[in-house]
């Protein structure tokens, strides 16, 4: 019994475990990823919570 590897939780199970706040953050990040082609997203965390989402979007002009 002790030798059986603990199965990785599925994405769905992990999502179900999240608080509403956490799900909101994920949704926002997903939204950003859907919208921009090149860029950076930064999550600023304080006291274990995401307090800020910053992003930079890069456009190639040439």
């Amino acid at each position: 019994m002790a030798d059986d590897p603990v199965p990785e939780p599925s994405t769905q199970e992990r999502l179900a475990d999240l608080t509403d706040d956490e799900r909101l953050v994920l949704a926002k990040v997903a939204g950003i990823v859907q919208k921009i082609k090149y860029g950076t997203v930064v999550l600023v965390i304080q006291d274990g919570k995401v307090v800020q989402i910053e992003m930079a979007e890069k456009f190639r002009l040439r």
């Binding site: 706040d21 909101l24 950076t40 910053e54 992003m55 979007e57």
Partner: protein
């Protein structure tokens, strides 16, 4: 907490469609070099700046960024293409587009407050009101104690702050900056960068700032949009749109990341043989 996260990702794409505050359409600027050759300073640049944006033009010397700024200021004219203000061709300089030069360009025969009053005079403020309003602008940049000093008695940083007060006294729609912090020491520069950030934030979207710089950190710190240019001839290379609230600090994670990305592309250009 979720609400703050919400506010921080204010997207710039939800623009309504009034015309851009400033626009360049296929702008070309050439000049004759001393050897008599035609040098292209700006090579077919098209660019929109919308009201309330803080844009930095960034690039090495010779990339045409100062030329573009002079054209926006009305101090220079395009060789071909258009430079538009509120949809109409730019006719000349004026207090609606105040300029901060690299040298403060204060008038040495006037005192600090006199310099600010000069700006008020030329936007039609009556004589009786000028002194009070000028002092108000000086208070905004924390220089009231030096109101009666002559420019040569001030440090470079204080002179540039006076120049900032004078430029803001015009109540311009647009503030243009031609490497305005380039000649300052690190401390004075940081002070002024914070002042400028503060002033822009306080304008609450009414004022548009366009600054030219070759300092990558400064551009990432101040701007919503950093337009990276390359030299010889001057072209737009890439744009970084930064969505991070202000005041920003130099060690901000996003700012640092953007800075290194810009450095990368500038290095790439140099190695390809373009620009210094």
């Amino acid at each position: 907490m979720a609400d703050r996260a919400e506010g921080a990702v204010a997207t710039m794409d939800d623009r309504d469609t009034p015309p851009p505050k400033l626009a360049l359409r296929d702008l070309v600027k050439t000049r004759l070099s001393t050897a008599g050759e035609t040098v292209t300073a700006v090579d077919h640049v098209t660019l929109d700046v919308f009201q309330g944006e803080f844009v930095c033009l960034l690039g090495p010397s010779g990339c045409g960024k100062t030329t573009i700024l002079n054209i926006l200021a009305g101090l220079d004219a395009p060789t071909s293409g258009q430079a538009l203000l509120d949809g109409r061709p730019i006719a000349g300089p004026g207090p609606d587009r105040a300029v901060l030069f690299q040298e403060p360009a204060l008038f040495p025969w006037l005192s600090v407050v006199g310099n600010v009053e000069f700006a008020l005079k030329h936007i039609g403020v009556p004589q009786e009101e000028r002194r009070d309003r000028a002092m108000g602008w000086l208070e905004n940049v924390h220089l009231t104690n030096f109101a009666n000093a002559q420019p040569h008695e001030l440090s470079a940083g204080m002179r540039q702050r006076t120049a900032l007060a004078r430029a803001l006294a015009c109540d311009p729609d647009v503030l243009l900056g031609d490497e305005p912090f380039g000649a300052l020491d690190a401390q004075a520069r940081e002070l002024l960068q914070n002042e400028v950030q503060r002033v822009w934030v306080e304008s609450e979207g009414r004022k548009t700032f366009v600054f030219v710089t070759h300092n990558v950190r400064e551009a990432a710190l101040l701007a919503d949009r950093v337009l990276v240019m390359t030299a010889a001839p001057g072209k737009l290379l890439e744009e970084q749109r930064i969505h991070a609230p202000r005041p920003r600090l130099l060690d901000d994670a996003l700012v640092s990341r953007v800075v290194s990305e810009i450095h990368d592309i500038l290095m790439l250009e140099v190695s390809k043989g373009g620009g210094s």
